[in-house]
Amino acid sequence: MKSDSSMPVSKGKVVTAVFLKDVQIELRSRVVTNQVLPFAGLVMVMFAFALDNDDVLQRVAGGLVWLATLFSLLIIVQRSFAIDTADGALDSLRVAGIELSAVFFGKAIALAAKLVALEIVLIFSALVLYRVDVNATGVVLLVTCVFCATSGLAFVGTLYGGLTAGAKGRETLLPLLLLPVVAPVLIAATRATEAAFGSGGAQTSEGWAWIGLLAVFAAVFGVGGSLAFGSLIDE
């Protein structure tokens, strides 16, 4: 066996490999579809029981969708890093000497894919359960909102997931760190979604201001995450 080192691998290939690995594991284990999704759906139904009023539900539908998403985000992030730490794969990734910012983007994109799948189901269940209507311009706003909010959540989730990966008491630390940080996403995505749903007489055009905020958030944590992720998961 020769000892020459192999050709350097481009960053894009590492991103793809990590992304495919995470997605493949999800397709195989179906944790998001079989556990997280029912959990999120349950949250939506429980809110319907607790609030018990059609008008109120219609009014707060947007907020409930994003609240359920945030709770699910915590579970998905923990699961995503539990896979990597269970058998020391995170150590192997570090020793492989690859660029860890590529791992960050790979994991973030995989997380975003799972979140989008979840959000689509949640939004449809809001349409059915809470009797919300969306018009054509609302759909455009909604799709943009989902895209921007999900990018932000995926970046910040991967960053803080990496920070708490392997730490003692991470189950309790992650929500403490993550929830205050994603507060702007909750507010902005909720308002934009409400505008798209027309809840409480909101106009669709009111929603676009929020999209800007979501985009800034995603940009800040995308850049911050790619810079900081490597040093956070290292000892």
């Binding site: 960053l159 920070l163 730490a167 003692k168 630390l173 403490l176 760190l177 929830l179 205050p180 940080v181 507060a183 702007p184 507010i187 902005a188 308002r191 009111e206 201001a209 929020w210 905020l213 800034v216 958030f217 800040v220 944590f221 911050g224 900081a228 040093s231 956070l232 290292d234 000892e235």
Partner: protein, 249 residues
């Protein structure tokens, strides 16, 4: 407090004693002036007196968090990664969290008097509450196990992200309120007609709290250094013990 200082010369110096004495002096003046000398406000009546402790503590809390961010950035940027920066960042965040807790409590007491409610989803209050939780999280990150360098790097990154959060949270909350609620709530700071003595007392409050902040941070970061030194000495002993464990076999 100066008596206490003499007994525990551990982290005290002449400078901190002077700062401590000044802090007590100015603080006494703030309390006397704030509670007795200053007049009532035309709109808010007696409740305006809370302002003299509430507003300075809020300012100093924000100052502390900015100081934490600056110290963290210095740690990250500096080639030597001097642990002094890390200790200053941690000490300042601890003091900041305390001042922010004071801000929230006195703010809600004041709110009860002016609004009739302990809590309003006012942008400034909401931002403050989020920041409080964020920095409680920062302190939790500092307590994670790991090497000193790893702890410093982690917490420096979290501090930088947290300080970026301040404008993001504030802007989103302001936008949120502006769209859904007119400016109907009485703004506790805006409607106060301040005469000279009131202004001077508020200013003294800022001075007093700044002195307190400096005094606390100096002592706290020196205490952290003492713990680090004690750990390092413990390490020498531990290495020696470990070596004998090796040679016995």
């Amino acid at each position: 407090m100066s008596q206490v200082l003499q007994r525990t010369s551990a982290t005290g110096t002449r400078a901190t004693k002077v700062i401590g004495a000044l802090a007590i002096l100015v603080m006494v003046w703030v309390v006397v002036s704030g509670l007795i000398l200053t007049p009532q406000d035309v709109v808010q009546g007696e409740s305006v007196r809370i302002m003299y402790v509430h507003v300075p503590s809020a300012w100093i809390a924000y100052l502390a968090f900015i100081f934490t961010a600056v110290a963290s950035a210095s740690w990250l940027i500096s080639k030597k990664h001097s642990m002094g920066f890390d200790r200053f960042a941690g000490a300042s965040a601890e003091v900041g969290v305390m001042f922010m807790a004071i801000t929230l409590i006195t703010g809600s007491l004041w709110g009860r008097l002016t609004w009739g409610e302990f809590w309003q989803w006012d942008p400034r209050l909401t931002t403050t509450a989020f920041l409080f939780v964020t920095y409680v999280g920062y302190l939790a990150v500092r307590r994670l196990e790991g090497s000193a360098e790893q702890r410093a790097r982690r917490s420096a990154v979290v501090a930088m992200l947290a300080v970026l959060e301040i404008p993001l949270v504030h802007f989103s909350v302001v936008l949120w309120r502006s769209l859904h609620q007119g400016a109907t709530v009485l703004n506790p700071n805006g409607d106060v007609k301040m005469d000279d003595l009131m202004l001077f007392t508020l200013f003294s409050g800022v001075v007093a709290f700044t002195l307190v902040f400096v005094w606390l941070v100096l002592h706290r970061q020196r205490t952290m250094l003492l713990v680090d030194i004690a750990n390092r000495q413990g390490l020498d002993a531990a290495i020696a013990a470990r070596k004998t464990e090796g040679s016995v076999r």
